[in-house]
C-alpha cells in the first residue's frame, strides 16, 4: 500500500466511559487521506465525544487512535502538541478570541508556532482570509461580524498553519441555509484545492450528502454503518433509514417504554 492510500486516522477498539456509562463502545473506523468523511448520528450518540478523542481533548478509556502512524492515546502533552500541528479545528460556536481582531485571531497559531516576521504573518493572514472570502476584514472585532462570517474566520484560523486534517464540529449549526451551503462549498474547495483531509461532524442530512466521500453513522457509541453517501441513502438498516428520513417514530421510539416510565415515576 503506498502512502496516499493508507488511512490518515485509524481508530481501533476505542472505548470511553464516563463513570459506568460507555459513551463510546468499541469503535473501529478508518479515515481516508485527502477525502471528506462525515460522522453522523442522533444527539447523544457520542459523535462530539468521538471528535474530541480524535483531537486529543479527551483520553480514551481503552483503544488506540493512530494519526499518521502515531498513537495519540495516552500521549504526553508535548508530543500531542507536535501531532496537533497537523490539525485544524472549526468549533461549533467558532470559538474566536473576542478580545482580538479578526486578523489577530488568524495570526495566533502563526505567532505561537513559527518564527515568521510580523510582515510575513500579515501577508499569510490576508491570504487565508482571501481563501475563505473575507478579504479586508482584518481589523474587525468578532462581535462586529455575523455568525457565518465568524465561522469563516475560524476556518481561516484553522488552516493558518496548512494542516493536513481539518475537523469541523457542526459547521452548519445556527446558520441560515444559504450561509450553511457556502460553508459546505468552502469545505469542498479546501479539500480539493489544498488536498486537506476533512472530518465533519453533523446531523444535517442535506449538507452531509452534498460533501461526503465517506459517511460514518454512529449509534449508541457504536459504528452502525460506514459507506459512501449513496450506500447510506440506500441502506437497508431501519435505524439509518429513520435517521435520514427524519421520522419521529420508528426503531427509535419517541417515548420511553412504559415500564421504564413507570419505574422513573415511582423512584424518587
Amino acid at each position: 500500500m503506498n502512502e496516499s492510500e493508507q488511512p490518515i486516522i485509524e481508530v481501533k477498539e476505542l472505548v470511553k466511559r464516563f463513570g459506568d456509562r460507555a459513551v463510546l463502545d468499541g469503535i473501529n473506523v478508518n479515515i481516508p487521506r485527502g477525502k471528506i468523511t462525515v460522522i453522523m448520528g442522533g444527539s447523544g450518540c457520542g459523535k462530539t465525544t468521538f471528535l474530541r478523542h480524535l483531537i486529543g481533548l479527551y483520553q480514551p478509556t481503552s483503544g488506540d487512535i493512530l494519526v499518521d502512524g502515531v498513537n495519540i492515546a495516552g500521549l504526553k502533552e508535548k508530543e500531542m502538541n507536535e501531532v496537533r500541528r497537523k490539525f485544524g479545528m472549526l468549533f461549533q460556536g467558532s470559538a474566536l478570541f473576542n478580545s482580538m481582531t479578526v486578523g489577530e485571531n488568524v495570526a495566533v497559531p502563526l505567532r505561537e508556532h513559527t518564527d515568521l516576521s510580523p510582515e510575513i504573518i500579515r501577508i499569510i493572514v490576508r491570504v487565508k482570509l482571501e481563501l475563505v472570502g473575507l478579504t479586508g476584514f482584518e481589523d474587525f472585532m468578532p462581535h462586529q461580524i455575523s455568525g457565518g462570517m465568524k465561522k469563516r474566520v475560524a476556518l481561516a484560523r484553522a488552516i493558518a498553519l496548512d494542516p493536513k486534517i481539518v475537523f469541523y464540529d457542526e459547521p452548519g449549526a445556527g446558520l441560515d441555509p444559504i450561509t450553511a451551503s457556502m460553508i459546505d462549498r468552502l469545505i469542498l474547495d479546501l479539500s480539493k484545492k489544498l488536498n486537506i483531509t476533512s472530518v465533519v461532524v453533523t446531523h444535517e442530512m442535506k449538507s452531509a450528502f452534498r460533501i461526503a466521500d465517506q459517511v460514518i453513522i454512529l449509534h449508541k457509541g457504536k459504528v452502525l454503518q460506514v459507506g459512501t453517501a449513496e450506500e447510506i441513502q440506500n441502506s437497508k438498516n431501519s435505524y439509518v433509514q429513520q435517521f435520514i428520513q427524519g421520522e419521529s417514530e420508528g426503531v427509535i421510539p419517541f417515548k420511553q417504554t412504559s415500564e421504564a416510565y413507570l419505574k422513573g415515576l415511582l423512584s424518587t
Binding site: 500531542m80 502538541n81 479545528m89 468549533f91 470559538a95 478570541f97 478580545s99 497559531p109 505561537e112
Partner: protein, 266 residues
C-alpha cells in the same frame, strides 16, 4: 455527632483539594516563568502588556481615591484616641506606619481583587464556555501558558506599584486632615512621620502585596478554568474568585505579619 464530624471532614477535604489544585496551577505557572528565561516565546507579550495596562494604569484612579480616603479616616480616628494622651502630634507617624505596613497593601489588593480578580474569572470562564480554551489546546497552545502566566505576571508586577500609590495617597490624606482639621503643624507632622517610618515598614508591605497579587491571580484564573456549563457557572466562578481571594488575602496577611514581626529576628 457522627454527622457533624462527617461535615467537618468533608469541608476539610474541599479546602485541602482546593489548596492542592491551586498549588499545581501555581507550580505550572512557576515552571513556565522559569523556562521563559531560557526559551523564546513562552510568554505571549501582547497579552502580558494588555493585562498590565488594564491592571495598572486603569486602576490608578480608584486605588488613589480609596487610599486617600482610608488615610483621612485613619488620621481622624487616631487623633480621637491620641488626644486623650496629649499625643496628637503622633497622628502622622501612626498613619504612615499603618499605611505602609498594613493598609496600603490590603486596600490595593482588595480593590484589585474586586476589579481584576472578578474580571479574570469571568473572562476565562466565558472562554471555557465558548470553547475558546479548547480551541487554544487544539492549536497546540497550552492555556495555562497563554492565559494564566501573563495574568499572574502582570498582576505581580502591577500590584506592588499600586500599593506604593495607595501608601502615598493615604499619607497625603492623613497629612491633609492633620494640618487642616487637627491643627498640627505641617513641618512637625512630616518630621514625626519620617522619624517613625523605617525601610522595613515599606518593603514588608510591598512583599505582602506581591504575595497577594499571586494569590488573587491564581485563585481567579483557577476559578475561571474550572467553569463548565453556562452563564450560571461563570457567575458562580466570579463570585467565588472574589470571596476566596479576599479570605485568603486576610488569612495570609495575619500569617505574614506574625512571621515578619514576631517570628523573624528584628
Amino acid at each position: 455527632m457522627k454527622e457533624f464530624m462527617g461535615k467537618v471532614g468533608q469541608a476539610l477535604y474541599f479546602v485541602l483539594a482546593g489548596v492542592a489544585r491551586l498549588w499545581s496551577l501555581g507550580s505550572a505557572v512557576a515552571a513556565y516563568t522559569i523556562s521563559a528565561f531560557f526559551k523564546k516565546k513562552v510568554i505571549p507579550r501582547a497579552v502580558l502588556f494588555r493585562q498590565m495596562v488594564l491592571i495598572g494604569i486603569d486602576s490608578t484612579a480608584i486605588v488613589s481615591l480609596v487610599g486617600a480616603s482610608v488615610g483621612t479616616v485613619l488620621a481622624l480616628q487616631a487623633a480621637y484616641s491620641l488626644k486623650s494622651f496629649g499625643a496628637i502630634m503622633y497622628t502622622g507617624s501612626l498613619v504612615c506606619v499603618a499605611m505602609a505596613r498594613e493598609l496600603g497593601p490590603l486596600i490595593a489588593s482588595i480593590v484589585i481583587c474586586g476589579r481584576i480578580g472578578a474580571r479574570m474569572a469571568a473572562e476565562i470562564g466565558t472562554m471555557m464556555v465558548q470553547e475558546e480554551v479548547d480551541a487554544l489546546t487544539t492549536m497546540g497552545i497550552n492555556p495555562i501558558r497563554y492565559l494564566v502566566v501573563p495574568r499572574v505576571l502582570a498582576l505581580a508586577a502591577m500590584l506592588p506599584c499600586l500599593t506604593v500609590i495607595a501608601d502615598v495617597m493615604g499619607m497625603i490624606g492623613g497629612w491633609a486632615i492633620g494640618v487642616t482639621g487637627l491643627g498640627i503643624n505641617s513641618h512637625l507632622y512630616i518630621a514625626k512621620s519620617i522619624d517613625a517610618l523605617v525601610l522595613k515598614d515599606i518593603y514588608t508591605g510591598l512583599l505582602k502585596s506581591f504575595i497577594f497579587s499571586i494569590l488573587i491571580a491564581l485563585v481567579s484564573c483557577h476559578q475561571g478554568l474550572s467553569v463548565s456549563g453556562g452563564a450560571d457557572a461563570v457567575g458562580k466562578a466570579t463570585t467565588q474568585a472574589v470571596v476566596i481571594s479576599i479570605v485568603l488575602i486576610i488569612v495570609v496577611d495575619c500569617l505574614a505579619t506574625a512571621v515578619i514581626y514576631y517570628a523573624l529576628p528584628t
